[in-house]
């Protein structure tokens, strides 16, 4: 049996807004094996992004156990979490989240800087990454000088910078038209073929169908009705 890169048991997330508590995740169980391509689906507000943020170590659960590569994440320090985000996981956001003042080149360079990759290697790596997502000619463009699809490809190049094993994407095509969205999906499939583990939130049925497995969420819980499909 393949090794579980992601293991979640009864993961909970409780948000507090003023005096009001809200349980966005009420006990999620999830296993992701090495090299899988998984789609996470569910109605709006069901907790998909919350789950994904916890998975990507961008946020911490308020209950349950989360193991990444068999190591419990719940108790890690903020620096350890930062290093995981830097090297182990590449995160792709629906809203791209590029630095607005920086060029495509510079945006892709950021994770490499924090990984202390030396100058020359950094340059090579950025060129290679941007070529891989088909943006070799847009290196000097700032986000405002690119299309949505191009911005998302820069974000993907950035997510791949330190060759993470896991790529997490929260509706990566949500802000794109179907044509550029299709190109992005194709990129993810290529990444999957190259051996990366990919977890992707999507509202798009056709994309979900291409996944090996679909995880359904409903009201912060696993929706078992369709899980075994």
């Amino acid at each position: 049996m393949a090794h579980n890169v992601i293991y979640m048991k009864q993961v909970k997330k409780r948000y507090q807004t003023g005096q009001v508590f809200f349980d966005a995740l009420r006990g999620i169980d999830l296993r992701v094996e090495q090299g899988e391509l998984i789609a996470v689906v569910g109605p709006s507000g069901s907790g998909k992004s919350t789950l994904m943020n916890i998975m990507g170590c961008l946020d911490v659960p308020t209950g349950g156990v989360y193991k990444l590569d068999d190591k419990v994440v719940n108790t890690l320090t903020s620096n350890q979490l930062a290093d995981i985000r830097n090297k182990k996981i590449g995160f792709v956001f629906q809203a791209f989240n590029l630095l607005p003042y920086a060029t495509a080149y510079e945006n892709v360079e950021v994770p490499l800087l924090f990984a202390r990759v030396s100058g020359k290697k950094r340059r090579e790596r950025v060129h290679e990454l941007l070529a891989r997502v088909g943006l070799a000619d847009k290196m000097a463009n700032k986000p405002t000088e690119m299309s949505g699809g191009e911005m998302q490809r820069v974000a993907i190049a950035r997510a791949l910078a330190n060759e993470p094993d896991i790529i997490l994407a929260d509706e990566p095509t949500g802000n794109l038209d179907s044509k550029s969205g299709g190109a992005i999906v194709k990129l993810f499939e290529e990444l999957h073929d190259s051996g990366k583990t990919i977890v992707m939130i999507t509202h798009d049925k056709s994309i979900a169908e291409r996944a090996q497995r679909v995880v359904r969420l409903k009201d912060g819980l696993n929706d078992t009705n369709g899980d075994l499909s």
């Binding site: 961008l58 946020d59 830097n86 995160f91 989240n97 003042y101 950021v110 800087l113 924090f114």
Partner: protein, 415 residues
């Protein structure tokens, strides 16, 4: 933490955000300059006024004899009261709280000659007490009339600086002989230039002073023009005035209630008004400085505040791709320090150049004599920089620290 990483990230972002950083530096520098330069002029004016106020002398009173208005002990009114040098001694013995006292005689229109240069001048007979009492400070290498001059009735003269210039021009005067009403006098001293805001017999700079005893002898005078005295303690001026009336009333047989028998100018009372003006100026400058500081602070805070949303997201993004908290904090701290020091030191330097330039401008004018030259206060500069820096840090660094201490998701979601 890795220094090259800090350096790389910092330099890169610093270059990228030049516009914002330059604006903040300018706001901070400008605030510093305006406050420093303004307060420098204020301080210059203040010092000049303080100095000018001392021109006539500090804590002095001028006493003239008057005319009785109230009949007293069978004597009618309208009797003139006139003082001689003995009365000066009498007052000194009888009236406590007087530290220095001297009689003074005047001769206007004396013929003063040096070589072919003839002037019609104001000559006074005074005592050595004038040096301290009436700020007759001799220039370097010269002296005021002294006690021995008085005893020996020496024919020596102490020249006001303007009179010296009129008589001698650039030439050295000390040791030279001038003729006063065709009697030869040796110049022993020239008065150091001073600003004199008030006077009772003309400005000291255009007078020539000789020993009172000599004056009495050569002009055959007995009665003094006036008496000048200085109080031990400024608060005692009113007491002294009262005692003068009673002591002199007894001696000259006039009613101590008879105000017109004497005429006294209490210079201290006038000075108090002056001190209030000075205090007023300082309060005024303080308020303006404070307001300017607030405006500059708002400017700095505003620039910082406007970029909080953008910067919080920036922090969220960086942390999402693996920046450790420490890197973020060091970056923002460095930036805050560079802005504060850049703007602060720049502002202080420019203020220095501006005020120093103004100080060195070779203009002679009465306005400048009155207004003085700006005096820069490094303390004020440093205080302003610290305050503006603190404002910038509160407005810019604290949100950054907050953003670095929460989860990246929260920073990314910041609106």
């Amino acid at each position: 933490m890795n220094l090259t990483t800090i350096y790389n990230v910092f330099i890169r972002d610093f270059r990228k955000q030049k516009k914002r950083i330059t604006l903040t530096v300018i706001a901070l520098g400008w605030g510093t300059i305006s406050i420093m330069v303004m307060l420098a002029f204020g301080e210059g004016l203040h010092r000049q006024l303080m100095q000018n106020k001392r021109g006539l002398g500090e804590g002095i009173g001028i006493l003239w004899g008057g005319q009785t208005q109230i009949p007293y002990k069978g004597m009618g009114k309208g009797r003139p009261i006139r003082f001689t040098s003995e009365d000066v001694e009498f007052i000194e013995q009888r009236v406590p709280n007087i530290s220095l006292i001297s009689g003074e005689m005047h001769r206007w229109g004396a013929r003063v000659r040096y070589k072919d240069n003839v002037l019609s001048e104001h000559i006074t007979g005074i005592g050595p007490e004038f040096e301290h009492m009436r700020a007759h400070i001799p220039e370097r290498g010269s002296r005021m009339i002294n006690e021995l001059d008085m005893q020996l009735r020496r024919r020596v003269v102490f020249l006001g600086d303007e009179m010296k210039a009129n008589l001698f021009g650039e030439e050295d005067a000390v040791g030279k002989t001038v003729f006063i009403d065709e009697i030869p006098f040796t110049v022993v001293g020239v008065m150091k230039h001073k600003m004199q805001m008030s006077n009772y017999s003309g400005h000291d700079l255009s007078k020539g002073s000789i020993p009172l005893t000599t004056f009495e002898a050569i002009y055959g005078r007995r009665y003094l023009g006036n008496i000048v005295y200085q109080a031990h303690d400024l608060d005692r001026m009113a007491d002294i005035e009262k005692q003068l009336y009673s002591v002199l009333g007894a001696k000259f047989q006039f009613d101590p209630e008879d105000e017109s028998a004497l005429s006294i100018w209490d210079v201290v009372a006038g000075m108090k008004e002056m001190s209030n003006i000075l205090l007023g100026i300082q309060i005024f400058l303080g308020i303006i400085g404070g307001l300017t500081l607030i405006i500059a602070g708002v400017g700095v805070a505003n620039i910082m505040y406007v970029s909080i949303k953008e910067r919080t997201r920036e922090i969220g993004i960086k942390m999402a791709v693996g920046a450790r908290r420490g890197y973020i904090l060091v970056q923002f701290l460095l930036e805050a320090l560079i802005i504060t020091f850049g703007g602060g030191i720049g502002g202080i330097l420019i203020s220095y150049v501006l005020t120093e330039g103004f100080r060195r401008m070779p203009i002679e004018s009465d306005v400048l004599d009155f207004m003085g030259r700006p005096v820069l206060s490094p303390e004020i500069g440093v205080t302003v920089v610290i305050i503006l820096g603190a404002v910038g840090i509160v407005a810019g660094l604290f949100p950054a620290m907050r953003a670095a201490s929460v989860s990246p998701v929260e920073s990314l979601r910041y609106e």
